[in-house]
Amino acid sequence: MNPETPLRGEKAIRKKQPSKGWLVVSRFFQKYSYFFAKIGVSLLTLTLTTILLFFLLRLIPGDILEIYALKLQNQQGISYERAYELAKQLLNFDPSENVFLAFFHYVGGLFRGQLGNSYLETNVSANSLIATRLPWTLFVSTVALIISFLLGTTIGCYAAEKRKGFLEKLTSGYVAISGSIPDYLMALLLVIVFAYTLNWFPAQGNYDSFSVEPGFNFPFFGSVIYYSFLPILAYALVQTGTWILQMRGSTIGVLGEDFILAARARGLSDRTIRRKYLRRNALLPLVTMFGVSFGNLFGGATLMESIFNYPGIGLEISSRIVNKDYMVVQGLIFFSAAMVILVNLIVDMIYPLIDPRVRKN
């Protein structure tokens, strides 16, 4: 028998056996299938969101040319016809372009990293706006979020434990009131008291451009921090209440668990219980909320920014929506949505690591 020619059975078996490379890859996919599935879902969501957004913004009625012409007419005191002509020249945008074609252009631009150019102002694009305005929003919002999260969860934990007592009543009162008052009123109140009456802090703006030069110098940093104090305080005051509430609810849920009872039975001190068992377990559902909140930061808080006249991304988005600056708004919202989805994805990925009970078998 010729050793070259395989036996009938062998041939069949060899055909079935896949190559080594494929084996490695498929095993890799199987092992992390959970994660890849999640990433796939996120990409799908992102795509759907982009498509929805694009057509949504297009559907809002209104002739851009007309709106821009009216604006020009008001600004320059010229006749409407002249303004309309000027608008046609100034806008590097063709409103009669086919919607689907525009969509393809847009997606093409996305892949090249261009999030969208403004048709209203020539050297402005979503990328440039993100670079200049987002850092301010993130600065204030992140600091405030962290402060309110830390404060809120700590206080919430204590309040849940010590059900009676002065602290609990105080926090309940604070939560109830700060939760019911609209956030911009809180900000307004702060501004009236601290900026106008006491003159301790500036009422609006992000730094004093009349006296400091932006750059890596101490006066600039000082001015920035000085001007950001009230906004951060406002954001933090408003959000702490929510965190306290959530943490309290979650802690109450955990307090009812058997293992807490068991720990007490074992004679562990309150402090140990709080540190080791209570807080960590109660924090778990709050992690998702933290993720969602952080993701939302990238969209900016419009009303607060408007009251403090803080040049962040929220103000930018809302004013450009009004001016129907499609491309830029799309880019900015796409970015914000992508961040939300990304952060949620990260939270989903990390969560099984923190809470082993959620791991897929």
Binding site: P61, D63, E66, I67, L70, Q73, Q75, G77, I78, S79, Y80, E81, R82, Q89, L90, N92, S118, L120, E121, T122, N123, V124, S128, L129, T132, R133, L150, L188, V191, I192, Y196, N199, P202, A203, Q204, G205, N206, D208, S209, F210, S211, V212, F218, P219, F221, G222, S223, I225, Y226, Y227, F229, E305, S306, I307, N309, P311, L315, E316, I321, V322
Partner: protein
């Protein structure tokens, strides 16, 4: 975690403590005199991306008041003309056509000569000897020439060309077949910002456009208006657009302007302007700095005014707030002046419900005096219908007999009910019914304009109390778009408004292009063969006093500048009477606007005899009086840099 927090807080406090003084030390002047010779105001601008010239996408209203200039400038609402870059008022003359053959082009010369024209109207203007650009270079006639040929402002529609006589003399050559009246000529030039295109800087763009314009064929149709009477072919138009777009995007290294102040810092929330030392009248300019703040929230703005951070605020302030501001800051003064416009209710006549008689009935439903008191107590109530211009302008431009003959209404709800019943409406227990169904209307108003929004609330309440169910839709965005797309039955905003100088064309063209769309007046199709009428409003009015001729709105709209004297008066009579008889809208009141000035910071504020007695000056000067002109000058939107240029305003220190 706790230690980290502690450390953070400590660090923050230290940093704050060390820099707090420096943060507030730079502060704007507060109560008391002007310590740093600065003038501050609240304004708005496109805040991202600065392009260093006026005719670009960067726009800041306040630049009109401090930074850019033209040869002349008119004061809106009074039509006073003053010189900015020009040395004196221009001279008008008629010169032989042949002298300007080179400037207007051989083809233009042939065309006009062929029409039998031998003389061409010329306006000669001299530029100040010491007029300079903000970088120190002299301002030349060539710069004016460059402006007209690349920007094509409205005035160029009536011109045949612009000639550079020498470095400091410019001649405007008017189209002999479409010559405007002398007053119109001056006003047309006075709205051009001719000091914004520096020839050296933009030479490549200007030259290209000039070539294209001169290569464009001469327009033979007397009913069409285009820049220098030339209409470009499609190919030329696309070339023009390319060059113009490049021009708008090009950003020079410094902000091209000639005014008394120049741009120093431009951020999203603050702008700093500093004194231009090359300004011809720099010795008279006392202010060293202009600080511009932006504000998104009216409360913030009011606080800025109250605390003395702001030297000037333009616009209407609600009565109680104003009283509070005046009472708490003893240095604030509020002067009032007429706005060339009226607030009113416009009908959407495409709704079959609004027949002529119904519209006339509605005129009696509203207590106009009370609505005026609710929205703007300083305004002047008007009992007229929409007539194409505000009451004060109508009085100026109409003949007395016909002004008195205009339909005038009153607050008489019984009469309204009677007229409605005659038209077939029927009042039942749950409201008025027409054609068998309950009448339910939608009233639209813009949320961004407080006067309109408040008036709209009052109007809706009146209608509901009268028995006509009305839903109030206040929209903060796309108000105009919604009105356009037929959403509202009634709109409350301006009924007659003049956006430029008071020549009747201003408010008629605003009506033609904006308000007539919301009223849904019938229009010619945009591809109508007669190009003058294409896209325009379709309205014809009867002649007056036995004149059997018909006057079509679209035919006369563009020729108003050329008509003057008695003929102008008669035409305005015809138009106003015609529009008023159509009852397309209800004029509620003529608006009055205000300027709030901090006299502790600014010296030289006019009407001192009035405001030294009562700082909240409620006296609105009548049209044509000395005070009428003086008070209009304090409104920077109307008068731009009048009070700075000649050194009337000085820092008060």
């Amino acid at each position: 975690m706790k230690n980290v927090v502690k450390a953070l807080v400590l660090g923050l406090v230290t940093v704050l403590a060390s820099c707090a003084p420096s943060g507030s030390g730079s502060s704007e002047s507060s109560h008391g005199s002007n310590k740093d010779n600065s003038f501050s105001m609240v304004t708005s601008w496109t805040s991202s991306g600065l392009v260093n010239h006026y005719d670009s996408n960067t726009s800041c209203e306040a630049f009109n008041y401090f930074v850019v200039e033209g040869m002349y400038r008119y004061v809106r609402s009074t039509d006073e003309v003053f010189c900015q870059l020009a040395a004196e008022l221009p001279t008008q003359s008629k010169e032989p056509l042949v002298n300007f053959k080179a400037t207007i082009g051989d083809d233009a010369y042939a065309y006009y000569a062929g029409q039998g024209i031998t003389e061409i109207p010329v306006t000669t203007a001299k530029i100040r000897d010491d007029a300079k650009w903000q970088n120190g270079e002299a301002f030349l006639a060539k710069d004016v020439w460059a402006y007209y040929y690349i920007i094509h402002p409205t005035s160029s529609n009536y011109m045949a060309g612009v000639k550079v006589v020498d470095d400091k003399t410019v001649q405007y050559l008017w189209n002999p077949l479409k010559e405007p009246s002398d007053q119109a000529k001056l006003l047309l030039i006075a709205q051009d910002k001719s000091g914004t295109v520096k020839y050296d800087e933009f030479a490549s763009y200007v030259d290209t456009v000039y070539r294209l314009v001169m290569a464009s064929p001469i327009n033979q149709d007397t009913n069409l208006w285009g820049a220098f009477n030339r209409f470009s072919t499609d190919e030329q138009i696309s070339q023009l657009n390319i060059t113009r777009s490049a021009f708008y995007e090009y950003s020079p290294s410094w902000y091209i302007a000639t005014g008394p102040f120049k741009l120093k810092t431009f951020t999203a929330t603050q702008i700093l302007l500093v004194k231009n030392d090359f300004y011809w009248n720099a010795s008279q300019i006392g202010f060293e700095k202009i600080k511009l703040y932006s504000s998104n929230d009216l409360n913030q703005t009011y606080q800025l005014i109250k605390k003395g951070y702001v030297s000037y605020y333009d616009g209407f302030i609600q009565q109680d707030v104003l009283q509070d501001l005046i009472d708490s800051n003893p240095e604030l003064v509020n002067l009032k002046m007429y706005d060339p416009g009226s607030i009113g209710i416009n009908f959407n006549i495409s709704k079959p419900l609004f027949t002529l008689k119904v519209r006339q009935a509605f005129q009696y439903i509203f207590n106009r005096e009370e609505i005026k008191n609710a929205a703007n107590p300083y305004a002047t109530t008007s009992y007229y219908p929409l007539m194409g211009m505000a009451e004060s302008e109508a009085k100026t431009y109409m003949s007395e007999t016909h002004f008195d003959a205009l339909p005038k209404y009153s607050f008489d709800q019984e009469k309204a009910a009677q007229l409605l019943t005659e038209e077939g409406w029927d009042k039942q227990s749950d409201g008025w019914h027409a054609n068998g169904a309950l009448v339910s209307l939608k009233l639209g108003a813009p949320a961004s304009h407080d006067i309109s929004a408040t008036a709209a609330e009052a109007a809706a309440a009146t209608l509901n109390a009268f028995g006509i169910k009305t839903d109030l839709l206040i929209s903060s965005n796309f108000y105009g778009t919604a009105a356009d797309s037929n959403q509202y039955d009634l709109t409350l905003e301006w009924s007659d408004l003049n956006m430029s100088f008071s020549y009747p064309t201003g408010s008629y063209s605003q009506f033609a292009s904006v308000y007539s769309r919301w009223i849904k007046v019938e229009r010619y199709a945009s591809n109508y063969p007669d190009t003058q009428k294409a896209g325009s409003v379709k309205l014809t009015f009867d002649g007056l006093d036995g004149d059997t001729k018909d006057y079509e709105f679209a035919e006369y709209l563009n020729t108003f500048y050329s008509i003057q004297g008695e003929q102008l008066r008669y035409l305005v009579d015809v138009f106003n009477t015609g529009l008023a008889n159509l009852s397309l809208g209800i004029q509620l009141f003529q608006n009055v606007t205000a300027s709030t000035i901090n006299v502790g910071q600014v010296k030289g504020v006019p009407l001192e005899d009035k405001w030294s007695v009562n700082r909240n000056v409620s006296y609105v000067p009548a049209v044509g009086t000395e005070d009428f002109y003086a008070v209009a000058r304090t409104n920077l939107v109307f008068a731009t840099n009048y009070l700075f240029e000649f050194g009337t305003y000085q820092p008060n220190n």
